[in-house]
């Protein structure tokens, strides 16, 4: 088990290292000079080359790439994530300010995905082939196919424009008003969790169906268990073990969705920060956003792997 954990941890670190180089490459090597872009945008017109070089030196952009990379990594680890070109704020401070808001959204979205996804998937598998299975399966595919922004538009139109029961945008901090907070995140979390719910429902269904087709289920029936007992005692555990993986995938969907949703609903979280940074070519913020997203996803995947290894005896006992 120890070995399994260490191996997973090493893999994650290795991947993170590759990702960091990738992000570094995206920001530095690819065509398009961020400094030029920024300077052009802020000065509106021709700029003195010296000014550009000055900014380059200021950001360490005149160093060889490997040195730049190492400096960047060192700075990042020590909490120096650079300064936003657009606002002049420290990126680390911007991040810390927005993290709680985004975190609340994430957790609520994933919770609601699971709350809907698990029961639907289980019912679908148990009622395999019935009308209810078809209905739920179709619902799951629909959930997966709904574009986040369109779902947002529909819900805003329904609940804000027509019914006036939910705010169309804005965020009320939890500390200001609990009710206001919940109302303000109701639509965003619902939307961010929709795809995940569909994904979980599908995954749970196929996983459970597969388990229900295995020989040991027949053994359980042969002992005298009823359908519901077989489901509870023999089928659910092996079926839900791999589902942890899908919780990780859901987290990925939620992460991607947050960029659009926070932008649409004007929620001052990390997603909105990222989108705004892209609009203004604010590359220190873009870079930081990418690496945060990567760490976020890798950490969740690591957790998923670890709990999977912990729960599944076939992996647990191997060492």
């Amino acid at each position: 088990m120890k070995r399994y954990i260490l191996k997973r941890l090493l893999y994650s670190l290795l991947t993170l290292w590759l990702t960091s180089m990738l992000i570094f490459a995206i920001a530095r090597i690819l065509p398009g000079d961020p400094v030029q872009g920024v300077v052009m945008a802020s000065h509106m017109g021709a700029v003195d080359n010296n000014v550009i070089e000055g900014i380059r030196a200021q950001f360490g952009l005149n160093q060889p790439l490997t040195v730049q990379y190492l400096i960047w990594v060192k700075n990042f680890i020590s909490g120096d994530w650079g300064v936003s070109i657009a606002s002049g704020e420290k990126v680390f401070d911007m991040f810390m300010k927005r993290l709680p808001i985004t975190f609340e959204l994430f957790v609520c979205s994933v919770l609601w995905s699971m709350l809907i996804g698990f029961p639907c998937g289980i019912i679908s598998a148990v009622k395999h082939g019935d009308f209810i299975d078809r209905l739920l399966s179709a619902g799951a595919v629909l959930g997966l196919s709904l574009p986040v922004f369109w779902e947002g538009i529909i819900l805003i139109y329904l609940f804000s424009v027509m019914l006036h029961i939910l705010p169309p945008s804005g965020f009320v901090p939890f500390s200001d008003s609990i009710k206001g907070n919940l109302l303000s995140i109701a639509m965003p979390t619902f939307i961010m969790g929709t795809q995940g719910a569909g994904l979980i429902a599908r995954y749970v269904r196929s996983s459970l169906l597969e388990v229900l087709g295995q020989d040991f289920i027949r053994t359980a029936y042969a002992k005298g268990y009823s359908e519901i007992e077989v489901l509870l005692r023999h089928a659910l555990k092996p079926a839900l073990l791999p589902v942890a993986t899908v919780a990780g995938l859901t987290w990925g969907y939620v992460t991607a969705g947050s960029f659009i949703v926070e932008y649409m609903f004007a929620i001052p979280g990390l997603g909105r920060m990222g989108v705004n940074a892209i609009f203004s070519n604010d590359f220190p913020v873009i870079q930081a956003t990418l690496i945060i997203v990567a760490i976020n996803i890798l950490a969740v995947n690591l957790l998923v792997d670890l709990q999977y290894g912990y729960l599944d005896p076939r992996i647990r006992v191997q060492s």
Partner: protein
């Protein structure tokens, strides 16, 4: 004057390393899938190799065909050493050595038509000049194994297990090989089909004067088809003799036990050697210096645990066995 064997297997061993350690893996010990196995196969004979699952018989056959690298030892075909042979040379030799696998479901590519399965060796070795020659050859092969050439456009899943095994045999024969490795060719077939395939194999061996290495776990089948038989246990050959001697006068306790455990389709059959019945596992994971069969052996003594028995002659016929039994 002794005849030059067609195939010589000389002290081949195959180890699989077992790794342990938390961050830096260390090779702690190795499992020996095959340990110092030697035998010769002469032209025109059927050499039987018997053993239970996991005893290494399939590794032996993969090693002979150079499908897995050896840890030590060498395989000679017509006097030429195959181990370490250049790829190009090996390809030429492979034409003469073909294999028929156990599982007729997994050994045929499900997306390939039967005619292209049977003709694939011709394509690989570029043996036919044109399409019609290719077609003729494939159809001749199908007729030989009693398959209707009219159905050569079908896919494997449209055939039964026995028919698929016929396809496998036809595929092996297309390039006119001298030597066939038969890796449990009948053990997944029904009894009535099994007999059909055994008869087919015997017919084509006579017709083309082929040489067989016949691997199986069913002692009765091996008895029926082989001239000489070797018994494997936990990666080693424990007894090797011609058929009459091995079955008429089994010497190694494991061979005896196998024969005793064999169910005979005759209610009046007497199972005289009830106490030869075995207990316990297959010996692969035993790590003492002595005989691998020690723990399960009904005739074990102290010597067996400390000293490894070697294969040696037990009588004037070429009957060999690896056991301390009979030693003082």
């Amino acid at each position: 004057m002794t005849m030059q064997p067609l195939l010589q297997v000389k002290a081949i061993s195959k180890e699989f390393p077992v790794y342990q350690g938390q961050v830096f893996k260390k090779k702690t010990y190795v499992t020996q899938a095959v340990k110092s196995v030697s035998f010769d196969i002469f032209k025109g004979e059927t050499f039987g190799l018997v053993g239970e699952s996991g005893c290494g018989k399939t590794t032996v056959c993969r090693a002979i065909l150079q499908l897995t690298p050896l840890t030590s030892g060498a395989v000679f075909y017509k006097g030429n050493c195959l181990s370490g042979m250049a790829k190009k040379e090996l390809r030429k030799v492979r034409r003469h050595m073909q294999i028929v696998y156990q599982d007729p479901f997994a050994s045929l590519n499900p997306r390939t038509k039967v005619r292209d399965i049977i003709g694939e060796p011709l394509v690989i070795h570029k043996l036919t000049q044109n399409r019609s020659e290719y077609k003729d050859r494939v159809e001749a092969m199908m007729t030989m194994v009693s398959l209707n050439p009219a159905i050569s456009g079908r896919y494997p899943h449209e055939f039964s297990g026995g028919q698929r095994q016929r396809i496998s045999i036809a595929r092996a024969l297309t390039v006119n090989p001298d030597f066939l490795v038969l890796d449990e060719p009948v053990s997944s077939l029904d009894v009535s089909i099994q007999a059909q395939i055994i008869n087919l194999l015997e017919e084509i061996r006579e017709k083309f004067s082929l040489t067989y290495l016949f691997i199986a776990h069913d002692l009765a089948v091996v008895h029926h088809i082989s001239k000489r038989v070797a018994v494997m246990y936990a990666g080693e050959i424990v007894e090797i003799a011609d058929r009459q001697n091995l079955y008429g006068n089994p010497s190694h306790p494991y061979t005896k036990a196998l024969l005793a455990a064999l169910p005979i389709p005759d209610p009046q059959a007497s199972y005289k050697d009830e106490n030869a019945m075995l207990q316990g596992g297959n010996g692969v994971m035993e790590h003492h210096a002595g005989c691998k069969f020690y723990v399960r052996c009904p005739a074990r003594r102290h010597l067996c645990q400390v000293k490894k028995p070697v294969l040696k002659k037990v009588n004037q016929h070429d009957h060999m066995m690896a056991c301390h039994l009979g030693e003082s």
